[in-house]
């Protein structure tokens, strides 16, 4: 999910994955300390934004507001306001639940990770003219993945799918943290890809898409449990090396 406006990507420092994950963990712990400890998924991202961080949270027609068709979310730093596009409203379209939650968590990432840099940058450049049509961050699906957007995405993944909870859920399913490889799933390939091709109404799929579909299919129960999209869960499980594309060869293979 992608891109911003008044803060050049170069102004955002490099943050390690570990630092971003730590920030997400701290936020969840803060919420737990103030309200109730979150011991199982789904992570209450709505409450974290509104009740804990006290940000103004809105559903808006952002696509019309900004005149582009693929805006999912926006953050107004000075006003402490976050908006998610109304096309992602899960009440009207339950299939959007995962994307709605990921977008909300992504905007929270801007708030937690980038607010200091935005404020510093805007002070230096006199950019305090944030307005309804000009938030600090506009997040689009089509835009090039800039550092600032990648960081917010990674933050969202860590917040919604905490490492320990994922490990616990994986262990409950498998009895261990042993990864699942694409080869383990190949026997289901024809059945899963046929269903997916029919769902999409397309003629076929390339190799990468087939592999992603298989991995996402496998991660579906967890995606449901954590209320994220199958794609977000697949990326997180790959990040945590629980889903792997190729089995690591060892001396004994």
């Amino acid at each position: 999910m992608p891109r911003r406006v008044s803060i050049p990507s170069s102004e955002v420092p490099y943050l390690t994955k570990r630092a971003i994950e730590q920030e997400a963990t701290v936020l969840l712990a803060e919420y737990g300390e103030r309200f109730e400890t979150v011991v199982e998924p789904p992570i209450p991202v709505d409450e974290i934004i509104e009740v804990h961080l006290q940000l103004i949270f809105e559903m808006r027609d952002l696509q019309r507001l900004f005149g582009v068709g693929d805006v999912h979310g926006a953050t107004w730093i000075n006003e402490g306001r976050v908006a998610v596009d109304q096309s992602l409203d899960p009440h009207n379209n339950p299939r959007m639940l995962g994307r709605f939650r990921f977008t909300a968590a992504h905007e929270t990432g801007h708030w937690r990770l980038h607010r200091p840099y935005y404020l510093k940058n805007s002070a230096q450049l006199g950019l305090f003219d944030e307005s309804a049509e000009k938030p600090a961050y506009i997040c689009r699906s089509s835009a090039r993945k800039e550092r600032v957007e990648w960081q917010a995405d990674f933050f969202a993944a860590c917040l919604l799918m905490p490492r320990e909870m994922i490990h616990e859920a994986w262990e409950q399913r498998h009895g261990s943290l042993k990864p699942v490889t694409l080869d383990d799933l190949r026997e289901h390939e024809s059945e899963i890809t046929t269903a997916e091709i029919m769902r999409r109404g397309s003629l076929g799929m390339d190799r990468d898409t087939i592999d992603n579909t298989l991995l996402e299919w496998y991660g579906l129960p967890l995606a449901g449990q954590f209320q994220v999209s199958p794609q977000a869960m697949r990326i997180r499980l790959e990040e945590l090396l629980l889903l792997v594309r190729k089995k690591e060869t060892t001396l004994f293979d």
Binding site: I49, V51, F57, R60, D89, P90, H91
Partner: protein, 120 residues
């Protein structure tokens, strides 16, 4: 949108957060979509119907009539009450302009009348 919509929206949002409801959770309990509720809070649409405002006030644990008035709505039962007795409009006209305390006393008196009727 008018001043009532904007003021009601702001008040609603403030109270919702104070009571610890997220937008989605509150919308689900009231039976509306989060998008609609957000539009109400932003003052972009008229406040909801009296029935929905009543539900909101109940969730807040607050006086339903007060919230319905804040929304610029009339409680659902009032039109019928006003129409069922021809003396009612005159009573309301006379009561209009009384202080809150005078209205409270009038209400108390009406309750006593009703209680006495029930006993007889």
């Amino acid at each position: 949108m008018g001043k009532t919509s904007i003021m009601f929206g702001q008040l609603l949002r403030r109270k919702r957060i104070e009571k610890g409801f997220s937008l989605r959770k509150f919308a689900a309990q009231v039976g509306v979509s989060p998008t609609y509720l957000s539009q109400v809070e932003q003052g972009n649409v008229d406040p909801p119907t009296a029935e929905r405002v009543r539900r909101m006030a109940e969730l807040f644990g607050e006086n339903t009539d007060e919230w319905i008035a804040l929304a610029g709505r009339v409680p659902e039962d009032l039109p019928e009450i006003i129409q069922e007795r021809t003396e009612m409009p005159a009573l309301l006209r006379e009561a209009s302009g009384l202080t809150a305390e005078q209205l409270r006393q009038l209400t108390e008196q009406a309750r006593r009348f009703k209680a006495r009727d029930r006993e007889q």
